[in-house]
Amino acid sequence: MRRSSIVAPLILIAIGALFLARNLYPELPVLDYIARYWPFVLIAWGALRLGEIVFWAASERPMPRFGVSPGEWVLVIFLCIFGSSLHAVRGFSSWWPRSRVMIGGLDMFGENYEFPLSGEKASGSAPRVVIENFRGNARISAGDANEVKVTGHRTIRSLDQSAADNANAQAPLELTGDANEIHIRNNQDRVSNGRVRLTADMEITVPKGASIEAHGIYGDFDINGVNGSVDIISDNAGVRLQDIGGDTRIDLRRSDVVRASNVKGPFELKGRGGDVDLQDMQGPVTINGAYSGVLEFRNLAKPLHFQGENTTLGVERLPGDVRMALGDMTGSNLVGPITLSTRSRDVQLSDFTNSVDINVDRGDITLRPGVLPLARIEAQTRSGNIDLALPPNAKFDLSATTSHGEVNNDFGAPLRNEEQGRGAALRGSNGGPTVTLHSDHGDVTVRKATAEEKPAKEDTKSLKKIEQ
């Protein structure tokens, strides 16, 4: 009889753990992990099998006819196809999309050759500056002169000096166009054939009124002090913006960080990425995409609309801050109407005004309105506890219910407990706006806010929250 291997149950356990992790933390980029690390599953599988067979051989048990059965090979092939297509789809291979096959030798045996980069062109006071098809890092800042000036260096990775010289000559830096529109072109496509790879690090000085339009393949953008609009489209980029006067639109297939501060116009961000950090934004902020890192928003003067994979957040104005990380969200000093719906997060909001609508699938909700008079509050969670701390002199028409759990009344009159089936309810009114709390599975607590939760100390509180 063929001995059964321990690998099959282990694979079952691993798949189970993966799905469980995804269910518990929907924001966890499980697919990204698979796309990145699936080859190691093959290695571990083979290693386990090998260990097993060596052990059987050492203990003189009969050898199986196949180390890996035909059925398992079929599974392996499926895994390879699935893994590599996921890898391609998720954009991890976007570094060198067109020349992946040949690039290997270059990385092992190639050397870096550096060439200085410089160019300049006179322009009007508010030109459109277009950076074309760019691979490398660009730092753009505003200068006083009416000209576009590029300095920096390019790095050419190639097998020998002559190929690098050749590539540098074939792909010159070009600044073309007229006073109103200037194109900066590194011509990297011309030489990217697998034998050489050209990346550029550019310091670009533009007139203060310039607008920037950048199309990147791989590399970071750092833009500072430009009064016009900024448009960035890239396959993979980190973006840092500071003191931007106009509209900003960023569309990234992948990014590790997007950071912006002091942008005057509307700000629009799309795509996938890691961390997002926005502060002192004077225009409306619209974010639409999948971000797996930490999102922080501070001091937004206009509405914020965030649409993530599992979370939707709308805030009318944000004098304070909002921070979202894996599995939780904290916010303080928000101006409503606030709408939030999320799959799996613990939500903590303090010092908010105007109406609040919160819908959580799984997670606790902690609310401390702080500012009187109270506005309409509607908070629902399918699974989790709700904790509402009201100022002692608040006016409200409250109804707190739970289908499976307890209600705790630490506020006192006018609230009264009502038992109903497996759940419980807490109702009472002293003539204020409606406050509705509901948990399907979990406890609901209404209490008086303590002195330290008063809004006057919001600064120390928000600091504490960030430390958590």
């Binding site: 190691f40 067979i53 199986p64 290997g104 990385d107």
Partner: protein
């Protein structure tokens, strides 16, 4: 016995090698399109080892 043992570990070793080649492919240094012949070579070595193992067994 030896031939049998070699036959048994052939699958796992090939699997490990496949995994390593795929990992190298993803790191971007050598693509699988260039490294796949290593699988043939290792398979051939196993076949040779089987032949030399069998008469001894």
């Amino acid at each position: 016995m030896t031939g049998n043992f070699i036959c048994a570990i052939r699958g796992p070793v090939m699997l490990i090698l496949l995994g390593i080649l795929m990992a190298i492919d993803q790191m971007g240094s050598y693509s699988f399109g260039r490294t796949w012949p290593a699988l043939l070579i290792v398979f051939g070595i196993f076949k040779l080892a089987e032949r030399s193992g069998r008469p001894a067994a």
